[in-house]
């Protein structure tokens, strides 16, 4: 008897139970919308069951209850399909029905409020009930997909079934069916700015990620090879992570402001001097290091490294900050649209062309394939360079060389430069740690056999160690990407733009719509970026080391 009950619980879908209770609980106790007479006055909360009129609101509530019962149906396959259908339906209706009710409320807004209330641009705010409804619907959908996976439904069928609700929502958005919500009103008013900020956000994250990847892999490699540097590097990146982002922006403000004031020519001169000095020191050390006593040798090695780090860091900051400005300019200049898409196409085609060569044996079928395959790369490079030149020209073209300051390159105490530097620093912890762990965990026998067969150190790194550590490094990249999406929102405080602009503005004016307008795209960006990186990881990881 007890065993039977246990099996029954084991076979039931408790996630669906949770999703159903979540949605129905919200519909019963929480307001789904809030009607505000104007922008500032407090609104009138309305729960789903309070909405007057026909039965469909009650039906939505009952629909939200069904997963609670469906959870105990025995047939896994049928239960899965039912849950997927109900989940999709809850998601769509949770957005659609309150919008219908909202329009009705708006047309009779005067009657709702006390006489004397100023009614100007009355609006419908989405409220907590919609959030719980969406979450409950999504959980139900997820529970259904889990059932389907276990009952052996095909991946394609599951993918399509899971996406139906989202597709309907997109169609509703595009068709203006949800325009009554104030967040949509806000979106229509500021859509163009939103697109630009969104773009900025993406570029921020990707540029910082790329810079972090180069530095992170280098540091991770160093830590994995040098027992003495190991602890220092891992501690250092750990400590960076503990500095609050606001404080880090503040710390970067002063030196970057000073750097921004410098004239380009004088800085270039100083830079050449520094770089030359470092190079000379390195050459001298290389010549004599065998003869130096152990201590002196170490000390001079560290000195030379630091000497070299200063010009390198300067150059990196300049290139990244200027690169960001240039990229943004390229992306927003209308006259570059054609070249932009052509270059994008070439970049997209190149890897396909390369891999097609192996798969379809083009090397033999297509004469000159060996040379032809680099054609898309060449096109992409040419297009990219032209784009860069155009963007740089647009930014700097009007200035005299002698008057050019570093600020013209986008480096100053506030804005892009400190934001990207801070983001790069924050990306280091997961990148360095995972690179280190990935490299350290490789079986030494594998590296030894590679060395014994005649791999050079570089070949061993790129052909053995990097591919083997790749999944672990990618886990770090995904980790870093998601946290960067979040931190990039804070960069708005120092005038760097991005989606944080909307959030800050919303917080300052207690406008939830504004906050959501910034937050929802940020969340979407994080989810999409994570999924894209996961797909990339899957494509680039050898089947020989993929997790089964």
């Amino acid at each position: 008897m007890l065993d039977e009950r246990r099996t029954a619980i084991h076979n039931s879908n408790l996630i669906a139970f949770l999703g159903g209770s979540f949605a129905s609980f919200g519909f019963f106790f929480l307001p789904v919308i809030e009607i505000k007479p104007n922008r500032l006055a407090s609104g009138l909360p309305v729960s789903l069951l309070e909405i007057p009129g026909d039965m469909r609101y009650l039906l939505l509530f009952l629909l939200a209850l069904t997963p609670v019962l469906l959870a105990f149906v025995g047939d896994r396959n049928r239960r899965g399909w039912a849950l997927v259908a109900v989940g999709n339906l809850i998601v769509v209706l949770t957005l659609y029905l309150p919008a219908l009710a909202g329009s009705a409320y708006l047309s009779g807004a005067e009657a709702l409020f006390e006489a004397g209330t100023r009614i100007s641009n009355p609006r419908i705010l989405t409220s907590a009930g919609i959030a719980t409804g969406l979450a409950g619907g999504a959980i139900t959908l997820f529970a259904g997909l889990l059932d389907l996976e276990r009952s052996g439904a095909s991946r394609l069928a599951r993918g399509l079934a899971g996406a139906v609700g989202a597709l309907v929502v997109i169609v509703m958005l595009a068709g203006g069916r949800l325009d009554v919500y104030s967040i949509m009103v806000e979106y229509h008013a500021r859509g163009e700015a939103l697109a630009l900020r969104f773009l900025e956000h993406i570029v921020f994250v990707l540029v910082a990620l790329a810079a972090g990847l180069i530095v992170g892999i280098a540091l991770g490699l160093w830590a994995s090879r040098d027992a003495r540097a190991e602890d220092a590097i891992l501690y250092a990146v750990g400590i960076i992570q503990t500095v609050p982002s606001l404080a880090l922006f503040g710390i970067l403000l002063v030196p970057l402001a000073r750097l921004g004031d410098a004239h380009f020519l004088s800085l270039a001169r100083d830079w050449l001097l520094l770089a030359g000095l470092a190079l000379a020191a390195a050459l001298v050390l290389r010549r004599f290091h065998a003869r130096l006593p152990e201590r002196t040798r170490q000390f001079s090695l560290v000195t030379v490294i630091f000497l070299a780090l200063i010009p390198l860091a300067l150059l990196a900051v300049l290139i990244i900050a200027f690169g960001f400005e240039v990229v943004l300019t390229i992306l927003t200049m209308a006259e570059l649209a054609l070249l932009r898409s052509l270059t994008g196409l070439a970049i997209f085609v190149f890897p396909i062309f390369m891999s097609a060569g192996k798969r379809y044996d083009l090397e033999r079928k297509l004469p000159h394939y060996q040379r032809l395959r680099f054609l898309p790369l060449l096109a992409a490079a040419l297009g990219g360079l032209t784009l860069l030149a155009q963007g740089a020209g647009e930014l700097l073209g009007t200035n005299e060389l002698a008057e050019l300051t570093i600020r013209d390159f986008g480096v100053s105490g506030i804005g892009t430069a400190p934001a990207i530097i801070a983001l790069t620093l924050y990306s280091l912890l997961p990148l360095v740690r995972n690179t280190y762990a990935g490299l350290k965990n490789i079986d030494p026998a594998i590296i030894d056999s590679g060395k014994g067969m005649g791999f050079t150190a570089a070949q061993s790194f790129f052909r053995i160690e990097l591919p083997l550590a790749f999944p672990v490094i990618m886990a770090g990249v995904r980790n870093a990407a998601i946290s960067l999406v979040g931190i990039a929102a804070v960069a708005s405080i120092i005038g760097a733009g991005a989606l944080g602009d909307f959030i800050l503005l919303g917080v300052n004016s207690t406008s939830i719509d504004q906050i959501l307008l910034g937050a929802v795209p940020a969340v979407l960006l994080a989810v999409i970026l994570d999924a894209a990186l996961k797909v990339l990881e899957g494509l680039l990881t050898s089947p020989g080391i993929r997790q089964a």
Binding site: S449, S542, G544
Partner: protein, 380 residues
């Protein structure tokens, strides 16, 4: 040819892993380095392809010091197989075997042919396993691929550091035998490290026994067993060294051709005369026309019988005899399990060709190195 000349490996803390090693490995020979752990055998091996640098002295490869090559160039000309195998898990079996040819920039068609040839040679079907990844193969199959990979670019020299160490004893024995067959074909100059004296005796043309970095004895397996230089060697090869030597000797080389025997249709008088003539208490009985061994007859049985057929003991040849290609050790085993003073030897058809006596085996074990020429015989 590989020559170690006064080679010393000394670490900064003063520890000498290899101490004044002088050793010559001749072309086409397997030289086994053996000794207790920490004796420097792996260090000596890894100095050949410069995975470890020599402190003093030099290692000559075909007369040329090995530090005249770039390390990578040198290593690509020397096959390398290790106990942990070290197959690259992210590459297919084919790609693993193709590593060194690719490093040497062979063209793809030639590589494809070479890889398939090598995989076939080590008993891995390239059409079935070629595109699999290492983790999809068993330990034994991985060791085979490891050997194929070491042979990849057809290097004249191979370094093998316990290459069959990671598999169970049965698989190991099969791999050893197969590798000796391959070596018959390819005839590489091989340095082979092991800690297993039986493997050393079976695989080695010569065995170099090391202790604390020093070469104690360098001899053929047979001489090492016959004439251990000191107590350390004697103890290392084990108290059963005589038995081990017998393992090296084939029956064919140790048997006497002239054994007491008579045809199955002989009369009792003829048999008695034969026994008398040979001063023996028993004789083997063979088929008069084919010479196939049928059984034996003893002097004591003659008196009570009317014919040889009645007096003789019938026995299927396999149960009392050993084949010609067996080792002397197997012959001894049969000797001990029957009460004969002579174990009959038969050929593939069952024809009696000779016999092995305990006296003969004793003589063999006591005489040093008489059958050095017979050694290749055991590599059938």
């Amino acid at each position: 040819m590989i020559e170690f000349k006064d080679v010393i490996k000394e670490y900064p803390n003063g520890f000498r892993a290899v101490d004044d090693l002088n050793l010559t490995v001749r072309d086409g020979e397997i030289c086994v380095l053996i000794g207790p752990s920490g004796c420097g055998k792996t260090t000596a091996l890894r100095m050949v392809n410069r995975l470890i640098d020599v402190t003093r002295g030099e290692i000559l490869i075909d007369g040329q010091p090995n530090d005249e090559f770039e390390p990578e160039v040198l290593r690509r000309q020397i096959g390398y197989a290790i106990q942990q195998i070290g197959l690259l898990p992210h590459m297919t079996i084919r790609d693993n075997v193709a590593i060194v040819p690719r490093l040497l920039d062979w063209d793809e068609e030639r590589i494809r042919q070479r890889v398939d040839l090598l995989l076939d040679m080590v008993g891995i079907d390239p059409s079935i396993h070629g595109d699999k990844y290492p983790r999809q193969l068993s330990g034994g199959q991985q060791q085979r691929v490891g050997v194929a990979r070491a042979l990849g670019a057809d290097p004249p020299i191979m370094l093998m550091d316990e290459p069959f160490g990671a598999v169970d004893p049965i698989t190991r024995a099969i791999l050893q035998e197969e590798f000796l067959q391959i070596q018959q074909e390819v005839s590489k100059t091989i340095i082979f490290v092991t800690h297993d004296i039986d493997e050393a005796i079976y695989m080695g043309d010569r065995i170099a026994l090391l202790r604390a970095g020093r070469l104690v004895q360098y001899d053929t397996p047979d001489d090492l067993l016959a004439m251990p230089r000191d107590d350390f060697v004697r103890e290392f090869v084990g108290a059963d060294r005589s038995l081990k030597r017998l393992h090296l000797i084939s029956v064919k080389d140790s048997m006497m051709n002239n054994v007491p025997c008579c045809d199955h249709d002989a009369s009792l008088e003829e048999v008695a005369a034969c026994l008398q003539r040979r001063q023996s208490d028993s004789a083997f009985v063979v088929d008069a026309s084919s010479g196939v061994l049928l059984g034996w007859v003893e002097r004591a049985d003659l008196a009570e019988s009317r014919s040889l057929a009645e007096a003789m003991h019938h026995a299927p040849a396999g149960s009392i005899a050993v084949p010609e290609d067996a080792t002397a050790r197997e012959a001894l085993s049969v000797l001990l399990s029957h009460s004969f003073d002579l174990t009959p030897v038969i050929d593939a058809e069952g024809v009696l060709t000779g016999g092995v006596s305990i006296q003969r085996l004793q003589d063999l074990v006591e005489a040093p190195g008489i059958h050095a020429a017979a050694q290749p015989e055991r590599r059938r």
